[in-house]
Point group: C2
Chain length 200, copies 2
């Protein structure tokens, strides 16, 4: 297949690419990100594994394509993790708000909207949000794996609640507020979820 690509011959048609995407969507939703395999996606699409790699590269990139993700969360995770521990919530919140209010963010909000309405998209968003973004951050803050999962879940409730209230329901004054105002209000709560004492 790669040889075909290099010689300029297109292996398969754009229908094939769509078939792979559709099979991948099913597989990620069914098995979750960790258990999903490129092999299973290829088998379900009726193509060779190499063709999946040809079109999409790695499993991670295939996942981003399925999510129609306009960005790779990993680069943001790294920059959020750089800096003082007691201000990680502020960095996470600033990064999220910058992203959501960017042109790419409009696409992300559309993904959020449809994910709420459809079970399959919900499964994909769950994988994306937790496995690719929030769990790596929580695990850097919290050595206990079970507590790290809780921290990631709690951060998800606050961040997704903020996104859906600011962009989907557009409640005021939140929808029109500046990033700094929102950070003032919400960062202390997010900081408790990431590094604070969780038991009363």
């Amino acid at each position: 297949m790669a040889a075909g690509a290099r010689s300029g011959r297109r292996p398969g048609t754009s229908d094939t690419r769509d078939q792979i995407l559709s099979a991948a969507r099913e597989e990620f939703a069914r098995a979750g990100y960790d258990a999903a395999t490129v092999r299973a996606v290829a088998a379900s699409a009726g193509v060779d594994t190499a063709l999946v790699h040809y079109y999409f590269g790695t499993k991670e990139k295939l996942f981003l394509a399925v999510m129609d993700a306009p960005f790779d969360p990993r680069q943001y995770v790294d920059s959020v993790l750089q800096g003082p521990r007691d201000r990680i919530a502020e960095r996470l919140l600033r990064t999220a708000l910058d992203l959501w209010d960017s042109p790419a963010g409009t696409a992300a909000v559309a993904v959020l909207r449809s994910s709420m309405a459809h079970d399959r998209s919900a499964a994909l968003l769950r994988e994306f949000l937790l496995k690719r973004a929030l769990q790596p951050i929580a695990e850097s803050m919290e050595p206990d794996p079970e507590l790290a999962r809780w921290r990631a879940n709690l951060v998800a409730t606050q961040l997704m609640g903020l996104a859906s209230m600011r962009y989907l329901l557009a409640i005021e004054p939140l929808a029109s507020a500046s990033h700094e105002r929102i950070i003032d209000m919400i960062a202390p709560n997010l900081q408790r979820y990431l590094t604070g004492d969780l038991c009363r």
Copy 2:
């Protein structure tokens, strides 16, 4: 019309009722709860105002019918407000979780799901959630009207984020956790939004 009702004759048909509901849905979504009038709903449905009252009673009850609400939030608001101020978040959270995990809650979660996906439903949920439930609570806690609106907004981000992560995305461990565990984790954050210092 009322005379007709008492004599057992039905004024209009069930089509009329549906027409009124549909006009009301438009009107509440367009004008918001406060500015919407029964008169405008009646005009838009092409019926007499008295017929709207005959079918639905007050504007508030019409709104609950439009939301297909299985409960009236006002009774819950009153019970949340009764008790010590420094435990209001715990009572609000316990009330919300009990409600969401009840049979009526299943319907409420369905409303939440569709509200995220459709602008018109989003406008209705916004009115319902803030005007009927969270703003009355925030106003009881906070004398400054602008800050009370912020408190209600912040509580909305946390509560709706919790509902969507627990029920729509069903992330774990949150989706399977007991109410008490969730209250331990989230009540302190919600309490800050309701009665704490919001500026860093």
